[in-house]
Symmetry: C2
Subunit: 318 residues, 2 copies
């Protein structure tokens, strides 16, 4: 997105600057995640949404950095593993540093995010990001509760991804209207855009985690399977499966008994019931809703960029 390339570069500089601490392990560990983060999707959304609203100041750069800090803190806390997972020999995500540093550096980044928000001196932006942070934590807890539980409903799954992903996307885009001091209708349109995009993004992520093509590209697949996460592809295949198939899902996902061939078998069952294809179809529906939410804005470069983000998110899966 050339439109916001300069802003994004300023945002990156700010992120590196603000993750500094005299406690050297903090920038070391944070750099590991922040650098690996790569695509900077969430801050990019704040930057583009601000442009869409005609904003010409600099506040959007630090708000975009706040959004990325909150996301990074979440990634670090997602890396924490539980005793049960360790027992199954699956501790690898935070193998480099261990549980405790991941937690504490995440806390530091979260506190830094709030310090940066406070510098923006707007209670409204603070409210939006604090509420998104609380919803995000609720979504993560709900995900934990539904883990290993095949009685999870589609509605519960949707609630999980609305919390863990869509809430921060919606906050990131809503901020654009808020910094530009635009009317409520535009803030709500951008919120709806971010919310629907976030759901589409997570649906695609959940589909890709079982994708054979991803595996052929050298990307990790099967993380959700190993963790017993209840994602839409599995819920669909489980629901439509016969008795033997349902027993397979129960053994592997509920009881956590997995052998080497099981991920392949899971992929075959998803294929049989078109679990991935149907998940991506849903993602497209949400993506269309995201694009429609932008209807109230005039066509311009920023709007095209935000539409491109939706296409990019969904095309990952095609």
């Amino acid at each position: 997105m050339d439109l916001v390339a300069e802003d994004l570069s300023a945002c990156n500089t700010l992120i590196v600057e603000r993750m500094h601490s005299h406690v050297a392990l903090i920038p070391q560990l944070a750099a590991h995640i922040v650098a690996a983060g790569g695509k900077r999707l969430r801050p990019l959304l704040t930057l583009a949404a601000s442009r869409l609203c005609g904003y010409e100041g600099v506040r959007h750069v630090s708000l975009a950095a706040c959004v990325e800090f909150i996301h990074t803190a979440t990634l670090l806390h997602d890396d924490v593993v539980d005793e049960s997972e360790l027992r199954r020999g699956q501790a690898s995500a935070n193998a480099l540093f261990g549980n405790k540093p991941s937690v504490l550096v995440g806390d530091f980044l979260f506190a830094r995010a709030f310090q940066l928000m406070i510098e923006d001196k707007s209670l409204e932006t603070l409210r939006i990001l604090a509420a998104a942070s609380a919803t995000l934590a609720e979504g993560e807890v709900l995900q934990l509760i539904t883990q290993n539980d095949l009685s999870t409903t589609e509605a519960q799954y949707l609630e999980v991804i609305e919390g863990k992903t869509a809430a921060l996307f919606a906050a990131a885009t809503r901020l654009g209207a808020v910094v530009a001091d635009r009317p409520q209708a535009e803030a709500e349109a951008l919120d709806a855009y971010g919310h629907n995009l976030g759901i589409a993004f997570q649906l695609v992520d959940d589909a890709l985690d079982y994708s054979a093509e991803q595996a052929s590209l050298g990307k990790t697949v099967g993380d959700d399977f190993r963790e017993g996460k209840m994602t839409l592809p599995v819920l669909l295949a489980f629901h439509d499966g016969d008795t033997a198939e349902q027993a397979f899902w129960r053994r592997t996902l509920e009881e956590g008994e997995q052998g080497e061939a099981d991920l392949g078998e899971a992929q075959r069952l998803l294929e049989r019931h078109n679990g991935i294809g149907r998940t991506i179809d849903r993602a497209e529906t949400y993506g269309e809703a995201a694009i429609r939410a932008l209807d109230i804005f005039p066509a311009n470069e920023a709007k095209l960029a935000l539409i491109d983000v939706v296409r990019f998110c969904i095309d990952r899966a095609r």
Copy 2:
């Protein structure tokens, strides 16, 4: 402290109210810690400091709740255990719920704290609590770095406890002057009071962790020893120890090789070098500095209450 009994009761009500979530595990787990927290020392400090400054509104109640939420989030994150500790079979703190729920519910409480702060609509109180949160995380990371490392200096130890304990104490008391809109000198006096009290409090805590009397009262001792935490009693005894004693500390604290009789041996070595007594002497010095910091305030019930807190913290060890 009768003076603030009503305020503290209002604060407790607010805490229970605001830790609510439709995700039932959150209030369940939070209640477990919040209820166990018991003494509510930090919010009590905010309440008493506000009274000392002649404040008569209600803002101090919600700020006190924010302070307690931040503290509770820290406790939950402190419960997270690392693979190495698990390997030594020492995972018990969060045995009831596991690592991940502790992390995520802590995140939720931290976000809730900020939501509550934002309702206070003061950028100044937000700044104080966000800065304390960042310093707290830095102190915790520094503690992790010095763990199992007997080359830790007293200055480094002091920096750890200033971060992990004194920063939030200082913020809690400084808030009293800020809500009451008192001059900078009073804010700084209350900050100095909280800072010195926090150090004294942590020194006593670190002494009690090796105290035979505590053990006889049925309280847990030896947690710091098992975790290889570098606390002042140990640093003093190690520094003054002979070759055989230093080898003992290296084996048990640096290499983590501990047998059943080792805590007893550690206690004998601390006794020989008066490690506990000298730590408590230091605590008294900080306690006196805390009391002196209150000199600029006129004598009244609130001031006596804050002086009592210092005495209470130190008398735990006598």
